[in-house]
Symmetry: C3
Subunit: 396 residues, 3 copies
């Protein structure tokens, strides 16, 4: 763990008051991705400012809460005035170069550790060692189970051996001796089949039968893994490692049926996992974050974040964070950015999170709902300490 | 287009500050209905103040956010003091007569153009020319697909010819030479079968088979069109016109299963329509407006409003509008009133919308989240310019 | 009815301003449970501070909005300073004894009448006469239909006679001559099968067939009643009494599938009940309270509360109450605590409700959205008068 948490205030990026409880606390970003290695022209930059495939024809992705946040809060990091025009921003970015921009943004974010899912469209991204060097923070790896299963398929395996091969490869990828340090598994079941599948571990014969149907299609068409039986097999292989299991839920890109990504659909899985003691980490969760908060209250094993929403909703972050904290115990909510590609997203997530949670706690103190000592403790729990407690491994 | 946008402030109906960004901007009301032509006694007036069939026994529909808004904000338009008792309000309305009341309310609303669905229970309503004259604004027509299909059935057609007859009639009703100008199609699939139907265009043989089952029941019992195959056929006939397709979603009257009107259920249709470039307009959307906002972010073709909710939720409009703008790009949100029957609804929608969006933008300026120039541009986009861009035809 | 409504202010527990509209108004708590009779050690106390089975290992249930509310608002009632440490709080509670604590909390809550569901895990709770004595308020009984059906089964009945036996016993339990006075029936269909079941009354032959399957399992394993046919039979037996039917909806304990407790799923039942004139009372409803509010607007028979959420969400209660009042008519929303076990929950529900609704109405007055006379009337409707109108029987 290393710390750079005071930088937002010292840069004058946020007013000192509202973030005082979080000032100097290095965040653990328990779920994010790496950043683009090369320079980005305007269309490429805008394509990373939306969960869609890009802005609609005739529109700019800068015309959104996220885009306005970039112009307001990231411009000063690049030496531009607040609210710099989009063209100026992209030009200045190119002038400084991707590495300098990433370094400035990631260090201003002040994360003490990054837990990174590097299994999604990682072609043009910095590798994890490079990301760690640029961010000035240690990096752990989140093993994406569907990517492992597809790699096992692509390496060549027969249907009867597929189940064991996946389990073995998941175990190998999560070995404590590997570097970057594997810290968690992750499933994108929500994208691939929806969270409303039977949550039970499938029988080996079911796995073999499903593999015999999918493997030839994979070999022929590179068909992604969408079979529910094989997805469940991978998920349980992840649970067998004992590491926390991260689950995509809530909003994301247009591949998903949003209503089938409601984390409340995981209630059956939570009942099965509860006696095992393996932490389930509900990622993103918005706009179903109140449902996720209920899950975090009633199941010991369930934890939640509102990661991706925080940078996207901009100045509405206090409301979203307040909503998840209505029912979620303070020991069950974690910080994450879910930033992908743009280091601006890492910075905006951290900046909004610090200001929002800090502001909520300041307000609670000012109305005497909470004592300052408790406020400080809650801030630190959510920003860092819950992650340190839940994740048995943390990169150093 | 004609403008009357400054009238609310000049009437002293709203404080000058919060609406300054929208002051003088004529709204495009991209989805509304006409107003009742005749005078209304108190039960008839109250029946139009709720989406139910009327207030519960022993209760008054005035005892709601909407009812209080009428007494507060519409009373002064009729020369009564704010918060006039309901009985005084209804009496004053009768004294002035329906036409004078409608003229005063609609002109105070300050809409520059009205896009009107006149296919629902339009018996006692002003026709569109009369509405235009009273409102002092040009009117375009939104063609209600289910009404067209039912009229085709009632005119007499055999099952084998039904599909073609519907498509032909939709094409005829949307001809650019017609007046009032057809500007869009609309489906109430949400009411009739739910949005969770297969979104694909049905085959002609399927349409004929479904028609052969429904047409006799229609002839005998005037059974409304609820068959999913025929509804989908109508929807695709609408898409074939290339005009924007409006889709009812979110709350409405008790005919619908609300949970089957969640706009997220349209994700499959959006994927099919995305390559076609036909705009999908998600109407109302509340309480699923955050889901609609995600659809608007990730699909180029999807746009959203929170129309009907705005007059109903009263002083909560800023919160609802802020919620839809969490994820929806600023180029994808439109103004609408969805007002039906009472011109008070047209006025309250406009008044609340101006005050709410104007207030949100003022606040964003005062906290330096957005520059005044950007705030003005965003206000104008949502109030008018997005509609002018999305709708290829606009009445003049 | 008896009144103790001024006590919160006179105790200095809440500032005088925001609750002035509700000051002195005795609440009708239309749905709650009894309190634990004996003393509680810390684990037992914490287990009642969550809807889960207890806090997660290593965490304290005090680290939640509810826990902080107890320390802030209940400590002074026990003579401790605000924000007393959890250990001090539990120790002081033991020192005073359960009865003194319950008396202080329940009287501070200022409820004029309590309608109590005593059919759930009532072993260690005060009986209703004792509760009434401690609370200083009359108590009515809410008859839990599933408990009645299970008792009928356990008393021994054959499958063919089960349906009639249940109906007879429900009629007997709801006889107006019984004491405590039966005031309503309640179903926990949401927990047992989900609200998405066919809402129709089952035929006697269906009931007999379902009973013949369940009764042997009940006799052997004490299997809870989860059969949808038998649950519907019980629900309709409750409707046949003509008393209001309370329905659990929204969040609760981990037995339920939250997404199947969405009150919008009751739309089919509401259509069947609407012509009967029997009130349907949607309990809790959070996080689906906006959906419940729509139900309350469009169906005469439907009413709603946000009971359980109010103490749990703490200082967020104004937001939750504002959300349910967006669409729900003021005559359709009721106060309830859903408190179970801890008298702190009775107090916190009342305190938060008074402060939240009072504050919302003060704000509406200060912005001239509502007149003070209307604000006072609305406050009294929701706090008390709606319950007095809807419930044909009220304990005195």
């Amino acid at each position: 763990m290393c710390a750079d948490g005071g930088s937002l205030v010292s840069l004058g990026l946020v007013p000192a008051g509202p973030v005082s409880f979080l000032d100097g606390v290095p965040l653990v970003d328990h779920h994010c991705h790496s950043v683009v290695a090369g320079d980005l022209d305007r269309p490429a930059f805008e394509a990373l400012l939306t969960e869609g495939t890009g802005p609609a024809p005739g529109l700019s992705a800068f015309d959104s809460r996220l885009g306005f946040s970039v112009r307001r809060w990231c411009s000063p990091v690049l030496g531009l005035p607040p609210h710099a025009p989009a063209a100026d921003y992209v030009a200045r970015r190119a002038e400084l170069g991707a590495e300098a921009v990433s370094r400035a943004m990631l260090r201003a974010a002040g994360s003490g550790a990054l837990l990174v899912d590097h299994g999604f469209d990682a072609g043009g991204l910095l590798d994890l060692d490079a990301l760690s060097a640029v961010a000035g923070a240690p990096v752990g790896e989140v093993v994406r189970l569907e990517a492992v299963a597809e790699e096992v398929a692509d390496a060549g395996v027969d249907a009867g051996g597929f189940g064991t091969a996946v389990a073995d490869e998941v175990a190998r990828r999560t070995d404590a001796a590997r570097r970057p340090l594997p810290v968690a598994c992750k499933t994108v079941l929500a994208y691939r089949a929806g969270l409303d599948v039977d949550p039970h571990r499938p029988e080996p014969a079911e796995v073999a039968a499903a593999a015999s149907a999918w493997l030839p299609r994979r070999a022929r068409d590179r068909e992604p893994l969408r079979d529910p039986v094989l997805l469940r097999h991978g998920l349980w292989a992840g649970l067998d490692t004992g590491l926390p299991l991260q689950l995509h839920s809530g909003f994301g890109d247009p591949d998903e049926d949003l209503h089938r990504a409601d984390p409340a659909l995981l209630v059956g899985l939570a009942r099965l996992v509860e006696p095992l003691g393996v932490p389930l980490m509900l990622l993103h969760t918005y706009p179903y974050h109140r449902q996720a908060a209920w899950m975090a209250q009633v199941f010991s094993c369930v934890h939640a974040d509102v990661s991706l929403a925080v940078p996207y909703v901009g100045s509405r972050a206090p409301e979203v964070i307040a909503e998840v904290l209505e029912l979620a115990p303070f020991g069950k909510v974690l910080y994450a950015s879910d930033a992908y590609g743009l280091p601006e997203l890492h910075l905006l997530a951290a900046l909004r999170f610090r200001a929002a949670l800090g502001g909520l706690l300041e307000h609670a103190c000012s109305t005497d709902e909470i004592s300052p000592a408790d406020a400080e403790r809650v801030a630190t729990m959510i920003a860092r300490d819950n992650a340190l407690r839940v994740y048995p491994r943390m990169p150093a």
